[in-house]
Every structure is written in C-alpha cells, then in structure tokens.
Amino acid sequence: MEVFIQQCINALTLGGLYALIALGYTMVYGVIQLINFAHGEFFAAGGYIGVLLLGVMTAMGLMESAPWMCLGVSLLLTMLYCAFLAMGVERIAYKPLRKQTRLAALISALGMSIFLSNGMMLARGPLDQPYPLEYSSGGFEFGLITINNLQIVIWVLTAVLLVALNLLVFRSRIGMAMRAVAQDKVMSALVAINTNRIIALTFAIGAGLAAAAGIMVGLYYGSVRYDMGFVPGIKAFAAAVLGGIGNITGAMIGGLIIGAVEVFGAAYISGEYKDVFAFIILIAVLYFKPTGIMGENIDDTRV
C-alpha cells in the first residue's frame, strides 16, 4: 500500500510536468495545425538557462541567504527568455512557411529542433549540468511515504501555471482572441485581431510553460543535458495526442495519464521499459482514437 501511495505521489509530479510541456504542443497545434517538433528544445533550454541563472546567483552569494527567491527569479527570467526564444523561432522558421504546405513547416520544425539542441551542446558542452541540491532537502515523512519539499513546490507551481493558463485562455480578452484565431483566421482578421501577434503569443506561452517544466525537471533529477528535450518532448506529445491535440484540458489530463502510466509501468511491469509505455499509448491512440479523449465531441476547450 505504501509503495502504491508513494508511486501516486511520483506519478502526480511527473504527470504535472508532462502536462506543462504537452500544453505547448497542443496550443500551437490548435492555432496553426503545426506539430512543433522544436518544442522539446524549449523545455531543454529552460533547464539550461535555469541552471545558468542559479549558478550566477550562487556566485553572487545570493543563494545562501535567499534560495527560494533565487529560484523564483530564475524561473521568471527563464520563462521569459524561452518565450522570446520561441517567438524568434516562430518568426524565422515557421512564419515564412505559413502559406506553404504543412510538410514544409514540419520539416522546418525538425531542423529547428536539431539546430537548438546542437546549439545548447556547443554553448555548454555535452556533459550533464548539475543543479544545486539545496531545494530537494527537507520534506514530510508518513511512515514509509516521503514527500519532499521539491515535490510540493512542483505541484504548487504546476497547479498555479495550469490555473493561470486556463484563466488566460478562457476568461481574458487575449484568450478569446486566441480561440478565435484557432477557429477562423480570416474572420479573426476581419474583427481586427492581429493574427500574427496571437500566433507568436501562443508560441511564447507554450515555451514559457515548457521552460518552467525544464527547471523543475533539472531540480527534481539533479541535472540537465543538451539532449534532454527529446524523450520528454515525445512523451508530452503523446500526452497531447492522448488528450486530443488542440484541446487544452485534454493536454492536462493526457499529461497526468502519461505520467501515471510511466510511473506505475516502471514500478509494476518493468523499470527498463519505462520509456516505452508512452509510445505504446501514442500508437494505440493514433490507431484506435486519433481524436483523443477530449477530441471532436467535447471541443469547447480547444484553443
């Protein structure tokens, strides 16, 4: 029983992180029907910039006096950086191809993915970049079950970001414009919405969320590497497809399911195959229900 509860705790943590990444895939797909293969790289870049900023703050001696403030500031700056990075990528690699075939943009996305991950390798080398360990100490123990502080931070932060995103998309003026652009770009322009700006903003938001996940993964697993975007990227993509690509609520649910399947699969089936479960789900969904859990029928939560 204790093992099961412990696994639930782990699943929730991992699932939340996948959900954060999956949102970027689903939102971008929602507005321009592009699978942004470079999205995993925004997640990796988040991990990289995060470790860089925390390193700078350690060197400045701020870490000892106010570690949580350092984390907060790093998080904000990293999200901002990745948001701008994504807008740059959109501008350079996708926007010029918007009137071309979808395949052209897809190939451009693959190219961008390779470019970005190699860029990170050239900038910081191929080795793991260790994260500071301060944050993972301390926590709660209930018998055999432990919840460390970091997990709680991840939960809270994930929840805050997910709620904020929902408010933005479903309650704000900008969110209304995003949903309009996803549904009809010509009509959106006819009601004075700057569709290019909304598309750029969608990339920015998706990348910001992925960047936050990147930092949290770095803290949770203790290090980041230039190619860390690939596998979680595909798993999050699987989550987005499972939830119904284009659907925000679906991406959140899909992320939690993929996280749970991975954690329980590793615990009760085989640890060695933990990366495989997400792919099995991806293939099964594409085969049996390509529209995903929240696809077609309940589509009012599409972007």
């Binding site: 959106s188 322009a189 006819l190």
Partner: protein, 239 residues
Amino acid sequence: MAEPILELVEVSASYGKIKALKEISLKVYPGEIVAMIGANGAGKSTTLMAICGIVPVQAGTIVYAGTPITTISAERLPVMGLCQVPEGRRIFPRLSVKENLILGGFYRTDKSAIDADIERVFSYFPVLKERLNQQGGTLSGGEQQILAIGRALMSRPKLLLLDEPSLGLAPMIVQKIFDIISEINTQEGVTILLVEQNANLALQASSRGYVLETGAVTMADTADALLANPKIRAAYLGE
C-alpha cells in the same frame, strides 16, 4: 457630390493563375446602399475580400475615406470603420454568442460603451439575448446571419460590406434581414455595399448597383435603371 467613402480604381487580383478580378472600378458614397450583383464565381466575394485586405491586390488602388488602403493589413480596417459580414457568416462556432459579439468590437477598449452597444444590438435582434451563452455554431442559419450583422455593428462601422446576407434563408427571414439593413442605413447612417445573388431584393434596397461578370464590371447604373433594364431582367431577375 461628396467624396466617395470607398473607391476602387482598376483593381485586379488573382488566385494563383486564375484571374479573379480584372480592373474593377467602383465608388460608394457616404450614406448610400450600393448593390453588387453577379452570377456564381463572378468575383463578388473576392472584391470584398480585396477591399478588406484579405486577398492581395495585384494592380490598381483602393481608397477608403480618403486613405489609400490597397496594401494595409486587414486587422487595421475595422478600427477605421470598414467592416465586412462575409459570405457564409463565419460565426466563431465554438465561441458563445456573447463572445462573438464582444469580438466584433475587439479593438475597442471603452467597456461601458461596448456594453451599451451590445444592448443596442439586442434591441435590433432580441433573439440574440436569449441565446447569449449558446455556442455560435449551434445557432440556426438565420440566427447566425443576425449574429454576424450584430457582430459587425459592434465595431461601429461607417462602411459595412455585406456578402449575400440572404443566402440559404427562408423568404420571411430574408425580408426581416433586409428591413434591418435599411434600418441600419437610415438610423445609424452606415453606408452599405451589398453583394447579392438575389438581384431583385438587392436592387430594391439600393440606390445604385454594379453588375459583375467573370471578374469585370459590365454595368453600373441606378438601381431603378438596372431593375428596368431588359438584359438584367433576363439574366438576373429570372424573366
């Protein structure tokens, strides 16, 4: 006569190799209702989309309220008072009726005036008030047309381009929509360029009309003269 609010001078546009508009020239004066009639594929919708900056203009110029708008980006036009109710209405299907209306006035920030305008739209179209939280895509065709016009009014247009407002609607609803169009024109002083296949109805509501054939203007006259013209009667009025 006053300056035209809209003037097209020899405007051409293409879709790839297909030439859709061949040197179209037309004028609309403030306060008028002008009809544009023509068969399927004549280029009526393309003309409106070219005016609105959606279909790029290859040659010629478009001037709106004294400002050249030939190459302006589409989203800036509603701010200037130029607004279109496109063919097929293009209601945002998964947004509520209220959200569709709010988006009509998207560029505006004067919250209280927007609320007042929503009420004004309800006074024209009481049915929308009952449907406020329903998704746009679930409205009937007539209700969607009404919503599309209401959405356009939310931008406080000076010139309204209407593309086949009668399409697919029962005669009674068509009559009601045309009454509303006249009312918008007289009560609110909105100038209207009206594209229609229903030539009879359109010309009756208008003061002048243009006839479009395969991408070119082939006739331009007062509505009464067009209604009396035997060629028009034969080609467009089914006689």
